[in-house]
């Protein structure tokens, strides 16, 4: 519908509310009689709990309850959700530890919840938590994934040999070994993908409310997939899902992190059950660093085999992936579900990947924007640049030579990705033109005169989006003919409301002002999964399209019946009788559909429709990032000067929002490459980056203006032709920035720069390189 149609840069419908301070984040919600919870967390990375004395805390002012593991164990609640399904190298099942909401006998990371205090005020709960006496016997710990599976490493779980959680193999080992045996060149490199944290601006929080009279639980919380969340939490509570309501308000960012059923979700519900009152817990920022799930943290030993012409013959990768101390459904997925990105956009015929997932004395892990994709993209795109350097081929040229041409689509890569479409070379060419690739050497020379080392780096990455799954949508008409749209998706800032209203407006011809969007309440949404893995435009968008299609089909029959004709046409919200000039609007038909006299005999009243859309095929967004940056030779300070992206995310639903997703993703990838890093003390396992004073967040100042262009190649894997856009920016940014850094320092003989490339690290690399040359 005109300015709101699919493809238009529609400004967001959620914005006026959020801009007026009208958001409803979990901490904004107050329920009468509400109490406040405080978690007492382990100060040790690994320790035996010899005793806990809660007597002083219980007697403190305002305290309503003090809960420890025994209270959880006797409550009737079971383990928090646990990962399952993977296997160890010998074929035996993965190691799945029990996961109570409060630690039993031992603590396994700094931040592991030990007790939960419930009091009248937050301050009283905090004060009382300090009065709990825990006697710990400190044990040796391991936080590094590289050391975790070494023989003799401290065991996180006594009966989990070498801390190995599971292994995962993918690709063709024999074929890969043959390729390496025949290779003219082999490029080998160990890549360390650091641990980072989502640092959502809204921290996690929950309010648990047990209604004793109704014997029903309600949780108001921060999440991504309300219906999946209800399924997992109901299992923990040992109740049918019908006795649990999950409500998400506005979510202040998640990026994967908030997707789990965390300990505190169980604790506020148990606190409410014990006290008979609602209990709220909201994480403080500093607490979040030891309480949130972290992302990435793996080590890749990667090798690429090439022939003498620079054609990729094979790829062999061994990954060690940090699992933290506990696993949940989804916390392990980053280790295996997106390895396909390693194959890149290249013809490489033989690939094999061997992944070992390792427990350590660290926070649990969760997907963080990309969830294995940026890690894999970093490995392949760094290897390609190393190969280009070794063989003396231009980085753009070596990529071009190896790219899968459109005429080979569909193309089964050497890993799981079976690509349906893509025009990689065209995207590459457009990017090179945007950045003025040919003019780079002149810019490098000019920068050199200013004491700056200028480098250029590119990445061409591909990922999967909208993995096979389903989503629900419902269109409800009220008696005035206005509409409420519901889906299972839950926005955390992506702008679902805007895109869904565009689709409804476009397909039904109803003005967005008369459409209300509702999400995140399991008592309202009938079916679906939720948001994650860049799935919502493809799955949620298609579900809404199917639902509105059903509305139109039925409305056409009613309109024809009302106008006494056999058939009507429908366009822009108006039904037109073919034989006469009579018309009816969608609103008129919707209102009329409420009365039996207006509808054909045997038809159900109303125009409401639901859709349960599913897909068995994922889509493959891809794109090229090119970065130009300058390094200050005296200080090691990095300044990005140009950043261009050409992205293929299929059909573009809203270019304004797409740009926001890509740039936002880039900022997180750049953050990891240049500054962010969760660091643990290797001896005692303390998190050394436990606040915004220690953990470097990217600020406005570090970014140049980012130029983005879309090259749309619609996919046939969903109705709308869209490919996911949520993670693409982050995926491409890590390797592009890394390649630019190396290029800037290449004249010194530098072949690699570890992340994060802080000024100190870059300065040291320059000094060492110069010393080595002298």
């Amino acid at each position: 519908m005109g300015e709101f149609a699919i493809g238009q840069p529609v400004t967001r419908f959620e914005d006026p509310r959020l801009l007026r301070g009208g958001g409803r984040y979990v901490d904004d919600l107050a329920i009468p009689g509400m109490l406040f919870g405080q978690v007492l967390r382990s100060p040790h990375a690994h320790a035996k709990i010899k005793s806990i004395d809660i007597s002083r805390a219980k007697a403190a002012p305002g305290v309503a309850a003090v809960l420890v593991n025994e209270d959880w164990a006797t409550s009737g609640f079971g383990d928090l959700p646990r990962a399952e399904g993977k296997k160890k190298r010998d074929g035996s099942p993965m190691y799945r530890p029990h996961f109570p909401a409060l630690a039993k006998d031992k603590v396994r990371y700094v931040g592991d919840p030990v007790a939960f205090v419930v009091a009248e005020t937050v301050e009283q709960a905090q004060d009382a938590a300090e009065l709990i006496d825990v006697d710990y016997e400190i044990l040796p710990c391991v936080t590094s994934v590289a050391l975790g599976s070494e023989p003799g490493a401290p065991l996180v779980w006594d009966d989990c040999e070498n801390n190995i959680c599971f292994v995962h193999l993918e690709g063709n080992k024999e074929k890969t070994e043959e390729a390496f045996a025949k290779a003219d060149h082999i490029i080998k490199k160990r890549f360390v993908i650091t641990r980072v944290t989502a640092a959502t601006m809204e921290t996690r929080g929950s309010i648990g409310h047990y209604d004793k009279a109704a014997d029903r639980y309600t949780i108001y919380t921060t999440l991504q997939r309300a219906l999946n969340f209800r399924e997992e939490l109901a299992e923990t509570l040992n109740i049918p899902e019908s006795r649990l309501r999950v409500v998400a308000g506005d979510i202040g960012g998640s990026f994967g992190m908030k997707s789990g059923v965390f300990n505190e979700v169980g604790l506020v519900l148990l606190g409410s059950k014990v006290t008979g009152r609602p209990v709220k817990w909201v994480c403080t920022r500093s607490e979040s660093f030891i309480a949130d799930a972290h992302g990435r943290d793996n080590v890749s030993d990667a090798e690429m085999a090439l022939d003498k012409n620079g054609m990729f013959m094979g790829l062999r990768v061994r990954n060690l992936v940090n699992m933290g101390a506990y696993t949940q459904p989804g916390t392990d997925a980053g280790a295996f579900s997106n390895l396909g990105t390693l194959a890149g956009v290249y013809l490489t015929p033989a690939i094999h990947v061997d992944v070992t997932a390792v427990y350590t004395n660290t926070n649990i892990m969760r997907p963080f924007r990309g969830n294995g994709r940026p890690e894999a993209a970093f490995v392949i795109e760094r290897l390609v640049d190393l190969a280009a350097d070794e063989l003396g081929i231009d980085p753009a040229e070596i990529r071009r030579r190896n790219m899968i041409p459109p005429e080979k689509m569909p193309f089964q890569t050497g890993l799981s990705f079976n690509l349906d479409c893509g025009e990689f070379e065209q995207v590459l060419d457009q990017s090179l033109e945007m950045v003025d690739y040919k003019g780079f050497e002149a810019r490098r020379a000019e920068a050199r005169k200013r004491g700056k080392l200028r480098g250029i780096g590119m990445s061409y990455t591909i990922e999967k989006a909208a993995a096979p799954g389903y989503e629900g949508a419902e269109v409800r008409f009220d008696r005035t003919g206005s509409v409420t749209v519901l889906t299972g998706a839950v926005t955390q800032g992506q702008g679902h409301e805007t895109v869904f209203k565009q689709i409804v407006s476009d397909t039904l011809g109803i003005h967005p002002d008369e459409i209300h969007y509702l999400q995140g309440d399991t008592d309202q949404v009938f079916f679906g999964e939720g948001t994650g893995g860049s799935r919502t435009a493809a799955l949620g968008g298609s579900a809404v399209t199917v639902a509105t299609g059903k509305v139109v089909d039925k409305a056409k029959k009613i309109a024809a019946h009302m106008m006494g004709v056999d058939e009507v046409d429908f366009a822009e919200g108006v039904f037109t009788a073919r034989e006469t000039n009579r018309t009816l609007s969608m609103k008129e038909v919707a209102r009329a559909a409420m009365s039996p006299k207006n509808i054909p005999q045997g038809m159900e009243l109303g125009l409401n429709a639901t859709a349960a859309y599913h897909t068995t095929k994922q889509n493959y967004p891809n794109g090229c990032h090119i970065v130009e940056l300058e390094i200050d030779e005296d200080t090691g300070q990095v300044e990005m000067d140009r950043y261009v992206v050409v992205d293929d995310v299929g059909t573009v639903l809203n270019p304004l929002l797409l740009k926001g997703q890509i740039i936002g993703g880039i900022s997180q990838g750049v953050g990891q490459m240049l500054m962010e890093h969760i660091r643990f003390d290797p001896q005692d396992g303390q998190n050394l980056t436990g606040s915004f004073m220690d953990y470097a967040m990217p600020h406005a100042e570090i970014f140049p203006h980012i130029d983005i262009k879309s090259h749309s190649v619609p996919t046939k894997t969903n109705i709308l032709g869209v490919k996911g856009a949520g993670e693409a920016g982050c995926v491409g940014a890590l390797p592009a920035v890394a390649n630019a850094l190396v290029d800037a320092l290449s004249h010194l003989g530098v072949k690699h720069v570890e992340m994060p490339a802080t000024p100190e690290r870059v300065w040291r690399i320059m000094q060492e390189a110069k010393a080595g040359r002298a």
């Binding site: 400004t11 967001r12 959620e14 914005d15 006026p16 959020l18 801009l19 007026r20 301070g21 009208g22 958001g23 409803r24 984040y25 901490d27 904004d28 107050a30 301050e123 989502a198 640092a199 959502t200 601006m201 809204e202 921290t203 506005d250 979510i251 202040g252 960012g253 990026f255 403080t284 920022r285 500093s286 955390q492 800032g493 992506q494 702008g495 304004l656 929002l657 740009k659 926001g660 740039i663 936002g664 993703g665 880039i666 900022s667 997180q668 606040s691 915004f692 004073m693 967040m697 600020h699 406005a700 100042e701 970014f703 203006h705 980012i706 920016g729």
Partner: protein, 160 residues
């Protein structure tokens, strides 16, 4: 223990009894139940809590409620016109997609107004530098910076 505080918030006289340790942001959020002002950290880094105190941007998490005695506070709820029309800064944030999850947004908008007031016509580099006390995790800042520059021009034109 409780101390009586009085101040003006968005043009309305308000008062309340607070503890000495009560932060201005707690007074606004918990006593007045105006939840548009957010708390995103505990070390004065993120700027989600920025309000105006006597017309100047301040982090309300780093000021005690008692320090605001007698002052005029403006929060995000008080920025729109009396008829509900969005302030030019709010409108520009919408036009330039300067917000996603919306959590840092109230602080960003209040800071943006402050930048526009202090440095009319500031260039992109200056605006980016002026945002060093505000963190956004979603947008990559580009839409925010464009919004502040755009609104600054509109506000400037309205002044002259």
């Amino acid at each position: 223990m409780d101390i009586e505080v009085k101040m003006t918030v968005n043009g309305k006289a308000v008062s309340g009894k607070v503890e000495a340790r009560t932060l201005l942001v707690q007074f606004i959020r918990e006593h007045l139940r105006m939840t548009g002002t957010h708390v995103g950290c505990d070390t004065t880094q993120c700027g989600c809590c920025v309000v105006h105190v006597d017309g100047v941007a301040m982090k309300s998490c780093t000021m005690l409620a008692v320090q605001a005695e007698g002052k005029a506070i403006t929060t995000i709820e008080g920025l729109a016109g009396p008829d509900g029309e969005l302030h030019p800064m709010q409108q520009a944030f919408r036009d330039h997609h300067g917000l996603q999850c919306g959590f840092c947004t109230p602080g960003m908008v209040m800071m943006g107004v402050d930048i526009a007031n202090r440095l009319p016509g500031a260039d992109e580099k200056t605006v980016r530098h002026q945002l060093e006390g505000n963190i956004c995790r979603c947008t990559g800042y580009q839409g925010i910076v464009e919004a502040i520059m755009d609104a600054s021009a509109v506000m400037n034109a309205a002044r002259s």
